[in-house]
């Protein structure tokens, strides 16, 4: 059986969601292709009459667009941005991102639940970015979220799985895809989250600030695939104490 990620009834082979911020539009196509990403995030901002480039021209066909609601400070603003994004005519997916905190950029979980409820009722495929908390994740599920996106560490920090134990609880208890978002800084951390049972990884800054963006996207792809395979296979056991020889314990040369 083929292993697929299903979000809002849509099937994806890739478990890598690529962010498109902080880097040159000319690199987006190569990053998507080398990273094998089938979902890419975008933001909505005021248009400027002096610019001629449009990001949509750089995203390969067939890639699902996941607009975020960045800039929203409460549920009402997130709903407004989500509706405007959908009016662009690029699908029903939305990543809810609501922040009040300017230093750590932590999401406002309560407002995120409110926005999720409104948008899910309007037929959006809602992927809420959240601070990992089991009760909040349950509320998001009840509100109609298609997945839950817990943060690993602050956005853009590249600090890795600071919330590892909390994310593991969500993976174990919530019957929705758990997509680890924010703070994943290197492929090994993406791999570790996938080994834990995460459904997918969303990364932007780790790739955008790498020496070679398309190559790092590929490194993430491979790490995510490795972690997924290890998770599906089942990890080898860990001994409480002592060692266990890997070699036969008979027939020694004497």
């Amino acid at each position: 059986m083929e292993d697929k990620l299903i979000l809002g009834g849509k099937e994806f082979k890739s478990r890598f969601i690529l962010g498109s911020g902080k880097y040159n539009l000319n690199l987006i196509k190569a990053a998507v292709e080398q990273g094998g990403a089938e979902i890419i995030t975008l933001a909505l901002r005021r248009a400027n009459t002096s610019e001629s480039e449009n990001i949509l021209d750089y995203i390969p066909k067939g890639v699902t667009l996941l607009p975020n609601t960045s800039g929203a400070r409460n549920a009402e603003e997130a709903v407004r941005i989500a509706r405007l994004s959908r009016a662009m005519g690029c699908g029903d997916f939305v990543k809810i991102e609501i922040m009040r905190d300017a230093k750590y950029l932590f999401p406002d979980n309560q407002e995120t639940i409110k926005a999720t409820e409104i948008l899910a009722k309007e037929g959006f495929v809602v992927l809420p970015y959240m601070n990992p908390d089991l009760n909040v994740a349950r509320d998001l599920q009840n509100a109609g979220a298609a997945a839950v996106m817990p943060l690993a560490s602050p956005i853009g920090s590249n600090k890795g799985l600071a919330t590892k134990a909390m994310i593991q609880i969500l993976i174990d208890e919530i019957d929705l895809p758990i997509i680890v978002d924010a703070g994943i800084g290197k492929p090994s951390q993406a791999c570790e989250a996938m080994e834990m049972g995460a459904a997918a990884i969303m990364a932007n800054t780790a790739i955008a600030t790498a020496g070679n963006i398309p190559d790092m996207a590929e490194a993430f792809k491979l790490a995510i695939q490795a972690g997924r395979k290890a998770y599906l296979t089942g990890m080898g056991r860990v001994l409480a104490r002592g060692g266990s020889a890997s070699d036969p314990l008979t027939g020694f040369l004497r």
Binding site: K22, L42, A47, T49, A87, C90
Partner: protein, 64 residues
């Protein structure tokens, strides 16, 4: 005056679609909000900009 993307402009009375085109916006690559209501793309040509309108013209950019 009319507020468009935060700037005051004397454009009341003009057709919205015609204004966007002559100002350098690409109407098929933006979404327009007028007084907090979305203007569907195929209705842009039916809207006359009114005095005191508040208009936002938005497009997708790179983001996480």
């Amino acid at each position: 005056m009319v507020r468009i993307n935060g700037e005051e402009k004397a454009i009341a009375g003009r057709n919205l679609l015609e204004y966007l085109k002559t100002s350098g916006f690409e109407p098929d690559k933006v979404v327009v909000e007028r007084n907090l209501e979305i203007v569907p793309r195929d209705e842009l040509g039916n809207v006359t900009i009114q005095e005191e309108d508040s208009i936002e013209v938005l497009r997708f950019v790179g983001g996480g």
